[in-house]
């Protein structure tokens, strides 16, 4: 058996506006730019891709199945700027062939800094998915596939998940293959699904690369590679950004045609099928335990945290952000808490990455700032204002308390 398990990550951060140390406006987000990018990506990717997936599900009468993880920050933006995308996701949900995964609502790194905040964001995301798409996620994926034994234990202890998803990094698997179901070390019930990064990246990164010896990649050729898994694996986990379809790989590269033909080619082999992550863990028994004592992710060749926390600016910014947790939550100010949470989105820290900055590579492509330094300055200026706000809110509350006491005394 070779079960192809597609999971698409669907996410756009809430980008910040240019904010100097002289600003004291409490609108931190660049609504115009966010709307513009949201609509652009909707037109290039979300709408045509959803339409295609829906067609394929109908065409193959439910034999084609996929999973999505849509972040809360994107869902909010879609609601505001491109509600038609939400209806197409809803249509997909109604087919019964689409599974929605759970993650942190704000696409945050909270697992590393605050377990309370992490749990709150996961719950918020689960509820949002229930409300929007009428299904309760049973599989968890952490931001950027950040994972270790601790995360698995935490997810298992939450009691509402069957599996967790991560990167099939060579240094954790060794000779073993990502094409099986595993058990995370320290867990009993929870299952672990690992990304087949070679086949995933053939589509996500190499598809349009003319220097690649396998270019052009056809559905026929790719299915052949997938079918070779038969006999030494059960599930081929193809995990990638949804924006691969039409945004990272433009329509002109033929990516949509590739996807249109892929299910037919895969299903041509009688032993192949498509399964969602939940179906995979139901169908296949775990073959072993995977031990991940150190944190891994799906980023860059390092597969570690260096893209978000690799330099002094990044670690300073994120520490300062989480240091405010108590004060922010203590304020009881919903807008303040919401702003603080949106600042947790991992992209803000990714923009500060200085790795490869001189070489001008993929990091630059996704970066709305001219330099990592500009993004850090902007973030810190906003954080400064956020801090002022929570100090102010507290003083106000204290003042009110004092006044009430004085008034009470006056009455007495």
């Amino acid at each position: 058996m070779a079960s192809v398990c597609f999971y698409f990550q669907v996410h756009q951060p809430t980008r910040l506006r240019h904010y100097t140390v002289f600003d004291n406006n409490i609108n931190y987000f660049d609504d115009r730019k966010n709307a513009e990018i949201c609509r652009k990506v909707a037109n290039k990717c979300y709408l045509p891709a959803n339409r295609l997936i829906l067609d394929l599900i109908r065409k193959y009468d439910g034999r084609f199945r996929v999973a999505y993880s849509v972040t809360g920050v994107l869902l909010e933006q879609l609601e505001a700027y491109s509600p038609e995308v939400l209806s197409t996701f809803d249509a997909l949900a109604r087919t019964g062939c689409v599974e929605f995964l759970a993650e942190t609502y704000y696409h945050s790194l909270s697992f590393l800094y605050s377990r309370n905040e992490f749990a709150a964001q996961v719950n918020k995301h689960v509820q949002t998915i229930q409300n929007l798409f009428g299904q309760t996620p049973r599989v968890f994926r952490n931001t950027e596939l950040i994972y270790n034994n601790d995360l698995a234990s935490l997810i298992e202890s939450m009691g509402c998940f069957d599996a967790v998803i991560s990167e099939g990094a060579d240094h954790i698997l060794g000779y073993r293959s990502p094409n099986f179901v595993y058990t995370p070390k320290g867990c009993n019930r929870l299952r672990l699904l690992l990304k087949n990064y070679a086949l995933s990246d053939d589509i996500a990164f190499r598809f349009s690369n003319r220097d690649w010896s396998q270019w052009p990649l056809t559905a026929d050729k790719f299915s052949h590679w997938v079918s070779k898994v038969n006999g030494n694996g059960f599930n081929v986990n193809l995990f990638m950004d949804y924006e691969t379809l039409g945004e990272h790989q433009w329509k002109e590269t033929g990516i949509f045609d590739f996807m249109r033909h892929l299910p037919g080619e895969i299903l041509r082999h009688p032993d192949n099928n498509f399964k969602t992550p939940s179906e995979v863990v139901k169908a296949y028994q775990p073959v072993g335990v995977v031990d991940v004592p150190h944190v891994i992710s799906w980023a860059d060749t390092e597969r570690d945290l260096s893209a978000w926390l690799g330099n002094a600016m990044q670690s300073n910014a994120i520490h300062e952000l989480y240091r405010l947790e108590k004060k922010i939550k203590g304020s009881g100010d919903a807008r303040l808490i919401g702003d603080w949470r949106k600042l947790q989105t991992s992209d803000h820290f990714y923009y500060m990455c200085t790795k490869y900055f001189s070489d001008g590579d993929v990091h630059k492509y996704f970066n709305p700032y001219d330099s990592p330094y500009d993004s850090y300055i902007n973030f810190m200026n906003i954080l400064g204002n956020l801090h002022l706000r929570c100090v102010k809110t507290r003083t106000d509350t204290d003042l009110n308390k004092t006044r009430t006491n004085t008034e009470l005394q006056a009455v007495n």
Partner: protein, 429 residues
């Protein structure tokens, strides 16, 4: 390969980037084994000019005997008596001449006769032509394959020597009249620059920014304009000394280092300083350098009410430059127009983070810097405050910047020049 190089000042007489570039490039060419006759003007009455005899500046004695500088095996220096200096303007030239005449009068106790015999008592343009004539005479006794002239004052000399000898000419554009004077260009200087670039077989620009000015403003065909970036002389010992030269201070120091002229944007620096002080008090702004806007800058600081926070050091050289870099927390270069900008590289080499204007050549080669539009005073102030307020910013800029600057080596610039000499030779045949 033998080069007849029409260059400028050598250490310790360096007054700016032009001298630094000539020195760095020549030293690296020397190490590649390129033979150089380095011709430069010297001011006879200078108190530093210990190696030159005070001679009366008549035509015959204006060319001095060859001299060698240790370390530079393949370079022969030939000096020509001339008051030409980098960064002169017609006005400052006139002032200089008057000063030197009065100095000579004082030391010789004679008046009328000396003035009368002073050949270069004409204006700067006449002097540039006289310099060209002397260069031709000098060249007659030299052997070389190619002529390399640095900036407009030596272009007439380069052109004259090329005409007299038929050797190919390379002119090196370290700055243009548009950089120095904005839109109020001096027509005579522009004409000289244009003529030099048109006659030249190859034009070297110090950045793509300058290359585009050469092409669009001087009408030079793009295929003969090459870009050669400047390098930076590594200050190898700086890291070893950190332990005992750490200067204790309770104030942050933000440094402007450069000529205080329109081109360098001193007014933007001061206006940004004013804004910074609204947010951050524990800081002092140091303006190191001199120039025709010096007095204006002092006045402006007073007018802005920040006089006590701005320190003017005057022109610094040698060890004093290293000292000020060691004290600085941040270097700011808000240049209106900067063909390259070597000083920011020196700042990085000294572990000082930099803010540079996007309108600078150096911005093409350095990524690990904060970049601003020179007119955007708010943004300059925003970035200055950020460096002062958020220490990890300086830490990250320093560690990457210091590494990045090491990639800019004079030996690579010299290798590019050597290749351009070859092309000029082929083209000229």
């Amino acid at each position: 390969m033998k080069v007849f190089m029409l260059g400028w000042e050598f250490p310790p007489f360096i007054s700016g980037g032009l001298g630094t570039a000539c020195y760095g490039l020549t030293k690296a060419l020397d190490q590649m084994g390129v033979q150089i006759t380095f011709v430069l003007p010297t001011v006879v009455q200078s108190k530093y000019a210990t190696h030159v005899k005070l001679v009366s500046p008549s035509m015959q004695q204006s060319i001095h005997t060859p001299m060698k500088v240790q370390q530079l095996k393949n370079v022969v220096f030939r000096t020509i008596s001339s008051p030409l200096q980098p960064y002169l303007t017609a006005n400052s030239y006139q002032k200089k001449i008057e000063e030197s005449i009065s100095q000579m009068q004082a030391s010789h106790g004679r008046t009328d006769k000396f003035v009368g015999t002073l050949d270069y008592s004409g204006d700067m343009y006449a002097e540039v032509q006289r310099y060209a004539e002397l260069a031709v005479r000098l060249a007659a006794n030299e052997e070389f394959d190619v002529i390399h002239a640095h900036d407009w004052m030596t272009y007439p000399a380069g052109v004259a020597v090329a005409r007299a000898t038929g050797k190919p000419l390379v002119v090196h554009v370290h700055s243009t009249e548009f950089d120095r004077s904005g839109e109020h260009v001096n027509q005579m200087i522009y004409d000289i620059e244009r003529m030099g670039m048109h006659v030249a077989d190859k034009v070297i620009a110090v950045s793509y920014l300058t290359r585009s000015i050469v092409i669009s403003r001087y009408g030079i065909s793009g295929d003969k304009v090459e870009v050669v970036y400047n390098g930076v002389e590594r200050n190898g010992s700086s890291n070893l000394l950190v332990g005992n030269t750490t200067i204790k201070k309770d104030e942050k120091i933000v440094l402007f280092l450069g000529r205080i002229t329109m081109q360098k944007g001193p007014d933007y620096f001061l206006r940004a300083a004013k804004k910074v002080l609204e947010k951050f008090d524990n800081v002092r702004f140091v303006m190191a350098g001199s120039g025709d806007l010096m007095h204006r800058a002092v006045e402006m600081a007073a007018e802005l009410g920040i006089g006590s926070k701005v320190l003017f050091t005057g022109f610094l050289r040698g060890e004093d430059v290293n000292k000020i870099f060691k004290m600085a927390d941040l270097y700011v270069m808000p240049s209106v127009s900067e063909p390259f900008g070597i000083a920011p590289l020196e700042a990085l080499d000294n572990d000082v983070p930099i803010i540079i204007s996007k309108q600078s050549g150096v911005s093409e080669v350095i990524q690990h810097a904060l970049k601003v539009d020179f007119w955007d005073v708010d943004e300059i102030a925003n970035k200055i405050v950020a460096v002062l307020k958020y220490p990890p910013l300086g830490v990250t800029l320093r560690s990457h910047g210091n590494y990045e600057v090491r990639k800019l080596r004079w030996r690579d610039s010299a290798a590019r020049c050597a290749k351009i000499y070859e092309e000029a030779l082929v083209g000229a045949v």
